[in-house]
Symmetry: C2
Subunit: 272 residues, 2 copies
């Protein structure tokens, strides 16, 4: 049931409950160049787990392997609880369309997070306030128009014709939903894939690109996120290497209050 007052993100990542088989549908609002925005796909998979009747605890890690492009339209999610322990669960999810091969393969860990010694070894990077920075101009892919990107460092004009010499791939920016939405584990998952490709920054131009495998760790549970009550994160990302058609990315998502909410890494294909 699409609720008209519902946020586009919640519509885009909507799933219909099954037992082991769930259904979802790609959204034209979160479309990338040759398929849905990978962050929306990852968030949809996470939503099927969060809403699953057997789910216990909060997401701790999600790895998504993008095996093949997803076509516009309906898809099935084959959701399997592989192993449940006293305080953690291991899940496997396969996304397919029309009975064809798996196009996305994911594994997730959920955990009931118990109080412990708590220590943040890093501190939030310095950043000008969100309101003092201009919004990144719209680019072609529809998914980017669902976000409000405000670059503090690493602003790159992607309409440019490349650079004479490779530049830093580092970015520091605020990311929020264009229509503000309270940050939860689903939007954190999507935002962990909402960085522009590192190679676009390094080369100053768009090149054929696709994330192959994405892993995000959650360092805040639902209670922690409720306590933060935020609609945007400070996000940093960088790359270490581009070699033989693949490059990496690693990033952090921070609450404005200085709490590290999630860390993420991915390896991606490029043609350059």
């Amino acid at each position: 049931m699409l609720n008209k007052t519902q946020h586009l993100f919640d519509d885009a990542t909507r799933v219909v409950a099954g037992d082991s088989r769930w259904q979802g549908r790609t959204s034209p609002d979160y479309w990338a160049f040759v398929g849905p925005f990978g962050g929306a796909t990852a968030a949809t998979i996470l939503r099927a787990l969060v809403e699953h009747p057997q789910r216990a605890g909060d997401p701790l890690s999600l790895t998504v392997n993008y095996c093949a492009p997803i076509a516009e339209g309906d898809f099935d999610l084959d959701v399997r609880l592989v192993k449940a322990n006293r305080s953690s669960q291991h899940w496997c999810v396969e996304l397919s369309q029309g009975g064809a091969d798996v196009s996305t393969l994911a594994t997730a860990v959920f955990a009931e997070r118990r109080p412990s010694w708590s220590q943040q070894q890093v501190t939030i990077p310095q950043a000008e306030p969100f309101d003092q920075i201009k919004r990144y101009p719209d680019v072609a892919a529809s998914w980017t128009r669902q976000y409000d990107f405000r670059f503090i460092e690493g602003y790159t004009d992607l309409r440019g014709g490349g650079r004479a010499r490779p530049a830093s791939a580092f970015s520091k920016l605020w990311i929020g939903d264009r229509v503000p939405r309270k940050i939860d584990c689903l939007s954190l998952m999507a935002m962990s894939d909402a960085f522009f490709a590192r190679i676009f920054h390094a080369r100053g131009e768009l090149v054929p690109f696709g994330t192959v495998s994405l892993t995000t760790y959650f360092h805040a549970d639902a209670d922690d996120l409720a306590g933060e009550d935020i609609t945007r994160v400070l996000a940093v990302a960088d790359a270490r290497i581009f070699h033989k058609s693949y490059g990496d990315q690693f990033g952090e998502l921070w609450s404005p209050s200085g709490r590290l909410l999630a860390t993420t890494t991915q390896i991606a294909y490029f043609k350059a």
Copy 2:
């Protein structure tokens, strides 16, 4: 068939070919506190894929989710090629014992790595030569005795009684097999889990600990590794956060020549 001249690591990660079902066996030489060294388990899973008749290309990423302890003895590996594309493959592996629940769940991507624009954004950390640094003394877990750890930074006496204040979790060290063995993707995989737990460094003491999910990306293919022809790596690792019973780790494995071979991250349970 165990060849007496074979390296212990190759014996420990040996697999017997099946079609979709392979067999392996835990090794007392690579034993941790309550089960096999996670790096040996990960390397065994990778070996089953590398030796699989349908395998094409080199490992690009491996994610291993440790669902439950593995008991001493035989185990089965259920190996499934989920999707094959023109130049990449997506695999899923489930490790179980005696028909019981899955105890390790892994996904992997293999790729035939084509020439491309190549750019390393980072440079190897400075380090004194291996030969000028003392070997880390033996500790209880048998797996650690299969390695030669030489700390440049972050040496921590794990027999200590903890610290008054949390310390840095950063380590920089040389890691090689105790009996030198040429670095290949299998030993890189194992070494990506061969860092001591970050919380041991931060707290200066041993606490109950277990890796929950480990992801390693390979930035060098078999040809690149053959060209390096090395028996040790310069390894760095750090943590960003310990919170509600889970903490992270991220690390890099470098060839002495200055080439970034692999990057790795994990999330781990601790009790403290």
